[in-house]
C-alpha cells in the first residue's frame, strides 16, 4: 500500500518548501521581544503619550458643556398619596419650575427627560412590541408579541401595540426665558432611519390607550406613526434603568443668569415603582453630553502607563538584568521535582 514514486517525493519536497517559505515571512510577537526595557518602556510611554492628550481634550470638551438637571417628581406633587394623585385623571397636574442658568448656553440647547429606576430593558417589556405592525399598514393584526397590550377591551387590535407604546411618557414641558415664551423644536429628535424605515408613514394609531387600563401618553390618530417622534424616541428602549430621552431642542442661545421657567404637566406615574423624574437641559460638544469619565479615565490610564514606564526604567537602573546568562536557564532554581 505504501508506494511512493519519486514524483511524489519531489511534490512532497516542494510542498514542504512552500510551507516553510510561508513560515519564514514572519515576525516575533510582542511579548517574545526581549525583556530589555526599551521596547516595553517605549510601548507604555507611547500609550501615555497618546492617551493623556485625548483625555485632556475630552475632559475640556466635557467641562465646556453646560448641563442643568432639575428633578421635579417630588416637588411637583404636594399630596401625601403621590400614587393616588398621579392616577387621578381629573386633577390639574401643572407644576412650575424655575431654573437659573449659571453659564451661557449656546443653542441648540437639548431638552431631555430623565427617568430613574425605570426598567425599559426588562425582557418582558423589550419584547412587547410588533415591529411589523409599526411599519406596515396591513400588519395591524400582528399582535402576538404584544401581550398583554395586544387588543383593546373590545378585542380590536391596538396600533401601536405592546407595553412599550402603551407606557409612553406623557409629561409635557413649556418653556419661557425671562418670562418670554420660547419655542421648543420637537422635530428631528428621533433617528432618521427609524422614521424612514421602522415606522410607517401610512400607519395611523388605532384603539390606542383604549384597553382596560390607560398606561401613558395618547397619540394623535390623524398623524402617521413616522411623524410621532415622541413615540419613536420612546420606543428605542434604553439600555440602563437610568436613562434620558430627547424631548426637544431650544434653538436659541440662553445667556448666563437668565431665568428659565418651565411649566410641567406632571402626568407620568413614576411614583408606583419609586422612580424619579428630572428635566435636563444640556448643550453638546464633539464628545456628546457632559461626562467627565471618559477624559478622567484616559488621563488616568495614560498616567499609569507613564508611571509604569518610569518604574521599569528605575528597575532597570537599580537591578539590571544580564540577558543571555545561562544560569538563568536553570531549572534547579525551581523545585527540582515539580508537582504536576
Amino acid at each position: 500500500m505504501r508506494v511512493r514514486s519519486p514524483k511524489n517525493a519531489s511534490l512532497f519536497g516542494s510542498l514542504t518548501g512552500r510551507l516553510r517559505l510561508t513560515r519564514h515571512v514572519a515576525a516575533r510577537g510582542l511579548l517574545s521581544l526581549p525583556g530589555i526595557p526599551a521596547p516595553i518602556v517605549g510601548a507604555f510611554s507611547l500609550i501615555g503619550i497618546v492617551f493623556v492628550p485625548i483625555g485632556l481634550a475630552s475632559l475640556s470638551a466635557s467641562q465646556a458643556i453646560v448641563e442643568l438637571v432639575d428633578r421635579y417628581d417630588a416637588e411637583c406633587v404636594s399630596a401625601s398619596d403621590k400614587v393616588g394623585f398621579i392616577q387621578d385623571t381629573k386633577t390639574d397636574k401643572a407644576c412650575t419650575r424655575t431654573i437659573t442658568v449659571p453659564k451661557p448656553m449656546k443653542g441648540p440647547v437639548h431638552i431631555y427627560y430623565q427617568l430613574e429606576n425605570f426598567y425599559q430593558n426588562h425582557r418582558r417589556y423589550v419584547k412587547s412590541r410588533s415591529d411589523k405592525q409599526l411599519r406596515y399598514k396591513d400588519a395591524a393584526n400582528l399582535i402576538k408579541t404584544c401581550e398583554p397590550e395586544g387588543t383593546s377591551a373590545d378585542g380590536a387590535p391596538i396600533v401601536p401595540c405592546g407595553l412599550i407604546a402603551w407606557s409612553l411618557f406623557n409629561d409635557t414641558y413649556s418653556f419661557s426665558v425671562n418670562k418670554k415664551t420660547i419655542e421648543v423644536n420637537k422635530k428631528n429628535i428621533a433617528w432618521e432611519s427609524d422614521k424612514s424605515s421602522k415606522f410607517g408613514s401610512d400607519v395611523y394609531p388605532k384603539n390606542f390607550q383604549k384597553g382596560g387600563l390607560v398606561g401613558g401618553g395618547k397619540l394623535d390618530e390623524k398623524m402617521p406613526l413616522s411623524e410621532q417622534e415622541d413615540l419613536i424616541v420612546w420606543m428605542r428602549t434604553a439600555a440602563l434603568p437610568t436613562f434620558r430621552k430627547l424631548y426637544g431642542r431650544i434653538e436659541s442661545d440662553i445667556m448666563a443668569s437668565d431665568e428659565i421657567t418651565v411649566v410641567i404637566q406632571n402626568n407620568y406615574n413614576t411614583y408606583s415603582f419609586g422612580g424619579t423624574k428630572a428635566l435636563v437641559l444640556s448643550t453638546t460638544s464633539w464628545i456628546g453630553g457632559k461626562n467627565n469619565f471618559i477624559g478622567v479615565a484616559y488621563v488616568a490610564i495614560g498616567g499609569i502607563c507613564f508611571f509604569l514606564a518610569l518604574c521599569f526604567v528605575i528597575l532597570h537602573v537599580v537591578k539590571p538584568r544580564t540577558l543571555g546568562d545561562p544560569s538563568y536557564l536553570s531549572w534547579n532554581k525551581e523545585a527540582p521535582d515539580h508537582p504536576n
Binding site: T22, R236, R244
Partner: protein, 1213 residues
C-alpha cells in the same frame, strides 16, 4: 526505478525456479509462526462441529456472501443519525442541543434561529469533515471492490469484479496480482504446484512465502479446461482472525484430504514469481482473515483533552451557579412587582402576566428563568472549541508529515502522524521505552569477526569497541566527533553485510593457517546451513541472496567473500564454488540436502543434514552459545574454552554471536532419523511438534565445535546524539530488548545510555545459587527462591541509591528477573528503583514483558510514556503506551500499523518531540486557555448587564451578533495560533532541550494558568462593561444630542470585546505570520462589516441593529474614543502582568526568547555554542547523566582532576 528493475528480476527469477521442487526444503516455512490454532491440534477432528461449520462447494458459487468490502463508518442512510450521535456524545454539544430546543419556547432570551445557528454551523463543519474522511475511505473501498479477477464461468475464465466474487468460485490469479479473497490453492503454474506469496499488507514482511497445493488437486487441475469437471467440497473453520492457522479438509471423489495454512492464500497478499494459480474462494469480503484482523486501534486521548473535559464541567457548574444567582434575584424582583394588590412596576403589567413573570408565583418564574439564564450565559461554553481543536490538530499533523527534517531520503519515508489527537502529548513525554534492534540499530547485519578453531579472526572495530576504547580513557573529545562516521571509511569493501578484514583468511590465505581443515568446514557450513535463495545476475554473474533474516544473508555473503560461493539451490541440493585447498582452484561441489531442522526461538539453533559428493552425511548446525555448548561432544574440547572466551569478547563488543558445529552421521543413524522425522512430520496428532523436536534433538548431539561468528548490528545514524538531546530534555529512556545482557549493555555504551563512572545495578538470576537450584527440578522452590532473590536485589539497589547523592545509576535487569519484578507485590519497589536510575535496560524481555513494563511505567508514575519500536514484537508496548511510535524500517509495517506516529529513523524522535511535540503542546494549551478567556469575557459582560435589567434575561447584544461571536469574529485567530505559533524557533528548541520540560511538568496547562486566564477573562469583562456603560451612561453621545439606547450601547460594548479579545491575541502570540495578521485584524474587520451589512438589511430581520452603526455609532466621536479607551483598559493589566512576568519571573521559553534576541545581534559562532551548551548542561533539570554530552562532561572532569593531580606532582614540568 524499483518497478522496472523489480519486474525484470522477478521474471528471471521465476524462469530459474520453474522446475524447482522446493517443497521439501521449505516445509518449515509456513508453520514458522506460532499459530493460535496449534493450541488445539485436534481441530481437524472438529470439522463440522461448532466453529468449523463452513462448507464450500468448489466450482458451485453460493449466492450469499458478497466479496465487496466497506471500511466506511457511515453509509448514505446512516450518515446523518450516526454522525449526529457521535457529535452528541460530547457534553457541551448536548448542552447546546437542549438550549437550541428550549430556544423555541418563550423561555429564550434570544431568537430561536440564532440559538441553533452556531450549533448547526459547528455540527455541519464537523460532519463535513467526517463526510470527507469517509468519502475517501469509500473511494478506496470502491477501487478495491472494482478490481477484476478471472473467474471460471461457463467453461472459461472471464473477468469479474472483486465485489461480485462468491464463495465457491474458482479463480485464476495472475502474477503480481492481489488475491481477491481467501482462497484455497488448488494448483499453480509450477509443476509441483507451489507459489510464492508476498504478505506485505498483512504483516509487513517483505520476504516471500511459499505455498503449495495438495498433490491431489494439482494432479487433477493442469489447465483451464480441467475445471469443467472439477468438483470438490471443502469443509473448514468459520471465518476468524488467525492469519497463521487454518483447519479444514477437502473432499474430492469421496476422499478426504486435510488442508493446512500451506494451502491458504490470503486476501490482500500478492502472488509473486508465479505465472498464475488456481484457487477456490472460501472466505469473501469481511469474512476474509485480513478483514477479520482489521480491528480498531484502541483510541487514545491526550491528557490535555481529558483535562479540558474537566474544565468544561467546571464551566458548566459555574454556569449553573450564576444562573441560580440570577434566578434568585429575578424571583425577588418579580415578587416585589405586586405587593398586597398594589402594582409597582406598572409598565410591566404584573397584574396581567404569564407564567414566566408571575409575581404571584415567583418561585416558578424563577425556575423557568433559570433555564433562560442557562441559555443566555451559554456563551461561557466555547461551542466551537472541539471543532477548532480538531482542525488545528489536523493542520499540525500536516506540518509533522511535511517536515523535511523528518524525511528519510534513503527510504523515501516522511514522518506520519497517524492519529492527530495526540499531537500535544508528544510535548509531554516523560519516559521513552525503546526497542533496540531496528530501532536504535539499523537491523542490517554485518559479518565482522569470527573465531575458528580457537583463533580469532577479523580486525574490524565495532562502534561499541570505539565507545569502549573511549570508556577506558583513551583520547576523548576529539574522537568523539568521529563516532558516527560511516564505518566503511577504512575498508574499501563496500559489500553489504560484510565488514570483515583479515588477510590471514581472506583471498584464500586460510589454507596456510594451522587448522585449515577446520576453517574449510567452517566456511562450508556457512555456505550450506541456511535457507537463502541465490540470485544470479545474468549479465554480471554476480550473486545476491534473498534471506529470511539479515543475519543469514550476512553469513552467506561472508562465505561467498571468503571463497565458498553458494550459487545454486536445486530441488534437493545446494551447489557451491569452493576453493580446494589442495589444488588451490575453484571447484564446484554440490551437497544433497536431506533435511532441514528449522530455527525457532525455543530451539535457538538450526541444522541441515547434507550428503556430500563422497557420500558422507553431515549434520551442520549453528545456534546460540547457550544451547550449542551443551550439545558439543564431551571429548572434543581442545579450543572450547578459547572459543567461549572469544564469544564473550564479541558479546562485549556488542556483536551477535552464533556457534557453529557439525557432526558426521552414520548411515544407519541417518536412516533411523529419517524414518522417525518423517513419521513425526506426517503425524497429525496433538504432539506433532514435540515429536519433531524430539527427533531433531536426538540427532543434534555430540557435535564437533568449529567456531563462532560475530555479526554487528550497527547503530542507526544519529542515535547517540538523539539520546543525548532527549536525556538533556529530561526524558528518561528505557531500553527494552530481547538481546543478551552483554549485548544490551554494550549497545547502551555505544549510544551513551551507559558510561564509565555510572554505577550499574544489575539484577539477574544467572547467579550460581539460583542456577544450582534450577538443576533440582522443584519448580515452586525455584520460583520462590528466584522471587526472593530478585526482591532482595531490588532492595539492595534502592539502598545504594538512597545512600549516595550526585551519582548516576543504571539499572540492568534480565527477562527472567523481570518476570518476578513485575509481579504485583514487587512491581512497586521495582518501579521506585527504576525511577531512581538514569538509565534502565531490560534485556531478554518478551513482547508481553515489554507491554507490561510500559503499563507499569504508565500507571505507576502517571506520566506520559512513549514506546518506540519497529517490529511485531513491539506492537504490545506501542499500543499500551500513551503514544506509540513505529519505525518504518526493515522489520515490516506491523509496528507502524499499531502506532500513533511513524517515523523512519530513531533520530527523528528528537525533532518530533523537542520541536513538534513542544510546539503542539504549547500551542494547544495556549489555545485552550485563550478559548476559555474569550468566552468568559463575553459571557460575563452578558451576566453583568443582567444586574441592570433586574435579571430579567434580556441580552445585552443583538441575537445574531451573539450567535456569530464564536463562529466569525474570534474563531480564526485562535486557530491560526494553534497552527502557526512558535514560542521558540525550532533551532532553539533543539539547542535548549531543557525547554521540553515545560511539557512533562505541564507548566503551560497547569490549573493555576488555566484559572488565571479565566479570572483574567472575568476581569476583562468587568472592565469592558463598567467602562463602557459609565462612559456612555445617559448623556448624549453625539453632538446632535441623541442618547444611547440598548442597541447602541450593546454594539459599543461588543466592539470593545471584539477589539480586546483580538488584540489580546496579538499580545499572546509569539510568532507572527501573515496568516495570523489576516486572522486577527480580519476578525475585527469582520465585526464592522457585520455591523454595516446586517444593519443595512430590512429592520424585520436586523431588528435593533438596523442602521445602528451607519446611522448612530460611526458618526459619534465618543464611540471611537470609548472603543480605544475600553480596549486599552482591558488589555493593559495583562500586558503589565506579562511584562513583569517575563522580566522577573520568566517561564523557560521566555528566557530562551531573550537568548535568541541576544544572539540576533551577534552572528552565531559555533565555538561559543559548544561552550554555551556545556555551561547549560550544568543547570540541567535533573542530572540524568545520560548521553554523549554527559559522558564528555564526565571525561572532561576526569581530565581536569588528573591535571590538578599532575600539577601537584613536581615531576611534571
Amino acid at each position: 526505478m524499483a518497478d522496472d528493475g523489480g519486474s525484470n528480476r522477478t521474471r528471471r527469477r521465476s524462469r530459474r525456479r520453474r522446475n524447482m521442487r522446493l517443497s521439501k526444503l521449505y516445509s518449515f516455512a509456513c508453520g514458522r509462526r506460532p499459530s493460535v490454532a496449534d493450541d488445539d491440534p485436534a481441530g481437524s477432528s472438529r470439522i463440522g462441529g461448532p466453529g468449523f461449520s463452513r462448507v464450500v462447494n468448489a466450482g458451485v458459487p453460493e449466492l450469499q456472501g458478497s466479496n465487496s468490502i466497506s471500511t466506511t463508518k457511515y453509509n448514505v442512510v446512516t450518515f446523518f443519525p450516526k454522525s449526529l450521535f457521535e457529535q452528541f456524545r460530547r457534553v457541551a454539544n448536548i448542552y447546546f442541543l437542549v438550549a437550541g430546543c428550549l430556544a423555541y419556547t418563550n423561555l429564550a432570551p434570544y431568537s430561536s434561529s440564532t440559538a441553533v445557528a452556531p450549533l448547526v454551523i459547528v455540527l455541519l463543519a464537523t460532519m463535513v469533515k467526517e463526510a470527507i474522511e469517509d468519502w475517501r475511505r469509500y473511494q478506496q473501498d470502491s477501487e478495491v471492490n472494482n478490481r477484476s479477477t478471472k473467474v471460471f464461468q461457463d467453461g472459461v475464465f472471464s473477468d469479474v469484479k472483486w465485489k461480485d466474487l462468491r464463495v465457491g468460485d474458482i479463480v485464476k490469479v495472475q502474477k503480481d496480482d492481489f488475491f481477491p479473497a481467501d482462497l484455497v490453492l488448488l494448483s499453480s503454474s509450477y509443476e509441483d504446484a507451489i507459489c510464492y506469496v508476498e504478505t506485505m499488507n498483512l504483516d509487513g514482511e517483505t520476504n516471500l512465502k511459499l505455498k503449495q497445493s495438495l498433490e491431489v488437486t494439482s494432479n487433477l487441475l493442469l489447465d483451464d479446461d480441467s475445471f469443467t469437471t472439477f468438483r470438490a467440497v471443502i469443509r473448514c473453520e468459520d471465518p476468524n482472525a488467525h492469519l497463521y492457522s487454518f483447519i479444514g479438509n477437502i473432499e474430492i471423489q469421496e476422499q478426504q484430504y486435510p488442508l493446512s495454512p500451506q494451502q491458504l492464500l490470503l486476501r490482500d497478499s500478492k502472488l509473486r514469481n508465479t505465472e498464475f494459480v488456481y484457487g477456490t474462494v472460501i472466505f469473501t469480503g469481511h469474512d476474509s482473515k485480513v478483514m477479520q484482523n482489521a480491528m480498531k486501534v484502541p483510541s487514545k486521548r491526550s491528557n490535555v483533552e481529558k483535562k479540558m473535559d474537566k474544565i468544561i464541567y467546571l464551566l458548566l457548574s459555574s454556569l449553573v451557579l450564576i444562573s441560580v444567582i440570577g434566578s434568585i434575584f429575578f424571583g425577588i424582583a418579580t415578587r416585589d412587582d405586586l405587593q398586597d394588590g398594589r402594582i409597582k412596576r406598572w409598565y410591566l403589567r404584573p397584574d396581567d402576566t404569564n407564567i414566566y413573570f408571575d409575581p404571584n408565583k415567583p418561585a416558578i418564574s424563577a425556575v423557568l428563568h433559570f433555564l433562560t439564564a442557562m441559555m443566555l450565559y451559554g456563551y461561557f461554553i466555547p461551542i466551537s472549541l472541539y471543532i477548532s481543536i480538531e482542525i488545528v490538530k489536523l493542520l499540525q499533523a500536516l506540518f509533522i508529515n511535511n517536515d523535511i527534517h523528518m524525511y528519510h531520503q534513503e527510504s523515501d519515508t516522511p514522518a506520519h502522524a497517524r492519529t492527530s489527537n495526540l499531537n500535544e502529548e508528544l510535548g509531554q513525554v516523560d519516559t521513552i521505552l525503546t526497542d533496540k534492534t531496528g530501532t536504535l540499530t539499523c537491523n542490517s547485519m554485518e559479518f565482522i569477526k569470527c573465531s575458528v578453531a580457537g583463533t580469532a579472526y577479523g580486525r574490524g572495530i565495532t562502534e561499541v569497541e570505539r565507545a569502549m576504547a573511549k570508556r577506558k580513557g583513551s583520547p576523548l573529545i576529539a574522537d568523539m566527533v568521529n563516532l558516527n562516521k560511516p564505518f566503511q571509511t577504512e575498508g574499501q569493501t563496500a559489500v553489504k553485510g560484510f565488514n570483515f578484514i583479515d588477510e590471514r583468511v581472506m583471498d584464500g590465505n586460510w589454507v596456510n593457517q594451522p587448522h585449515h581443515d577446520v576453517i574449510q568446514m567452517f566456511f562450508r557450513l556457512l555456505a550450506v546451513c541456511h535457507t537463502c535463495i541465490p540470485e544470479v545476475d545474468e549479465q554480471s554473474g554476480k550473486i545476491s541472496y534473498e534471506a529470511e533474516s539479515p543475519d543469514e544473508a550476512a553469513f552467506v555473503v561472508a562465505a561467498r567473500e571468503l571463497g565458498f560461493t553458494f550459487y545454486k539451490r536445486t530441488q534437493t541440493g545446494i551447489s557451491l564454488h569452493e576453493l580446494d585447498p589442495l589444488s588451490g582452484k575453484q571447484i564446484d561441489r554440490s551437497y544433497k540436502i536431506l533435511h532441514v531442522l528449522e530455527f525457532n526461538s525455543a530451539r535457538k539453533r538450526m541444522s541441515v543434514i547434507v550428503k556430500d559428493e563422497e557420500g558422507k552425511t553431515f549434520l551442520f548446525s549453528k545456534g546460540a552459545d547457550s544451547v550449542m555448548f551443551e550439545r558439543l561432544s564431551s571429548s572434543e574440547s581442545s579450543y572450547r574454552q578459547v572459543t567461549q572466551q572469544h564469544i564473550n569478547e564479541y558479546a562485549d563488543a556488542g556483536l551477535r554471536t552464533l556457534v557453529l558445529a557439525y557432526r558426521e552421521l552414520e548411515e544407519d543413524e541417518c536412516a533411523y532419523f529419517d524414518r522417525k522425522f518423517t513419521e513425526a512430520k506426517n503425524s497429525i496428532s496433538a504432539d506433532r511438534d514435540e515429536k519433531i523436536e524430539e527427533a531433531a534433538d536426538s540427532l543434534e548431539r555430540d557435535l564437533i565445535l568449529l567456531g563462532a561468528t560475530a555479526v554487528e548490528d550497527k547503530l542507526q545514524k544519529g542515535v547517540p546524539e538523539c539520546i543525548d538531546k532527549l536525556a538533556q530534555a529530561g526524558i528518561k529512556i528505557w531500553v527494552l530488548t530481547g538481546d543478551k545482557m552483554e549485548t544490551a549493555i554494550n549497545i547502551g555504551y555505544a549510544c551513551s545510555l551507559l558510561r564509565q563512572g555510572m554505577k550499574q545495578i544489575t539484577i539477574t538470576l544467572e547467579t550460581a545459587d539460583i542456577i544450582a537450584l534450577e538443576k533440582g527440578s522443584d519448580k515452586e522452590a525455584v520460583a520462590k527462591a528466584s522471587k526472593d532473590n530478585v526482591v532482595q536485589q531490588i532492595n539492595e539497589g534502592k539502598k545504594l541509591i538512597n545512600a549516595s547523592s550526585g551519582e548516576t545509576f543504571a539499572l540492568i535487569i534480565d527477562g527472567k528477573s523481570l518476570t518476578y519484578a513485575l509481579e504485583d507485590d514487587a512491581k512497586g519497589i521495582f518501579l521506585d528503583l527504576a525511577i531512581g536510575c538514569g538509565s534502565v535496560i531490560c534485556c531478554r524481555s518478551s513482547p508481553k514483558q515489554k507491554a507490561l513494563v510500559t503499563r507499569l511505567v504508565k500507571t505507576g508514575t502517571g506520566k506520559v510514556t512513549l514506546a518506540i519500536g519497529d517490529g511485531a514484537n513491539d506492537v504490545g508496548m506501542i499500543q499500551e503506551a500513551d503514544i506509540g511510535v513505529g519505525i518504518s524500517g526493515a522489520e515490516g509495517m506491523q509496528a507502524v500499523m499499531a502506532s500513533d506516529v511513524s517515523i523512519a529513523q530513531f533520530r527523528f524522535l528528537e525533532r518530533l518531540l523537542l520541536v513538534h511535540g513542544h510546539w503542539c503542546y504549547s500551542r494547544i494549551s495556549s489555545m485552550i486557555c485563550y478559548f476559555f478567556y474569550k468566552n468568559i469575557t463575553f459571557g460575563v459582560t452578558l451576566f453583568l448587564y443582567e444586574a441592570y435589567t433586574s435579571f430579567s434575561g434580556q441580552a445585552f447584544y443583538n441575537d445574531w451578533a451573539m450567535a456569530l461571536y464564536n463562529v466569525l469574529f474570534t474563531s480564526l485567530p485562535v486557530i491560526a495560533m494553534g497552527v502557526f505559533d512558535q514560542d521558540v524557533p525550532a533551532r532553539f528548541c533543539l539547542k535548549y532541550p531543557m525547554l521540553y520540560q515545560e511539557g512533562p511538568q505541564n507548566l503551560l496547562f497547569r490549573w493555576s494558568r488555566i484559572l488565571g486566564w479565566m479570572l483574567y477573562g472575568v476581569a476583562s469583562a468587568v472592565i469592558i462593561f463598567f467602562f463602557s456603560t459609565t462612559a456612555l451612561q445617559h448623556q448624549a453621545f453625539r453632538e446632535s444630542g441623541e442618547v444611547m439606547d440598548l442597541a447602541a450601547l450593546g454594539a459599543t460594548a461588543y466592539t470593545c470585546v471584539v477589539w480586546a479579545v483580538n488584540v489580546q491575541m496579538v499580545i499572546t502570540v509569539s510568532y507572527f505570520t501573515l496568516i495570523q495578521h489576516i486572522c486577527i485584524w480580519g476578525g475585527i474587520a469582520l465585526w464592522y462589516v457585520f455591523l454595516v451589512a446586517y444593519g443595512a438589511i430590512t429592520p424585520t430581520f436586523s431588528t435593533t441593529y438596523f442602521m445602528v452603526f451607519v446611522d448612530a455609532l460611526a458618526g459619534a466621536a465618543s464611540y471611537w474614543v470609548v472603543t480605544l479607551l475600553v480596549s486599552a483598559a482591558a488589555l493593559i493589566p495583562y500586558f503589565t502582568y506579562a511584562v513583569i512576568k517575563t522580566w522577573f519571573f520568566p517561564d523557560y521559553h521566555n528566557k530562551i526568547q531573550w537568548l535568541q534576541h541576544r544572539n540576533r545581534g551577534q552572528p552565531d559562532s559555533n565555538h561559543a555554542d559548544v561552550e554555551f551548551g556545556q555551561a547549560l548542561r550544568q543547570f540541567s533539570v535533573r542530572s540524568t547523566g545520560v548521553g554523549v554530552s554527559a559522558r564528555r562532561d564526565a571525561a572532561a572532569l576526569v581530565r581536569l582532576n588528573s591535571k590538578v593531580y599532575h600539577a601537584d606532582s613536581p615531576q611534571l614540568s
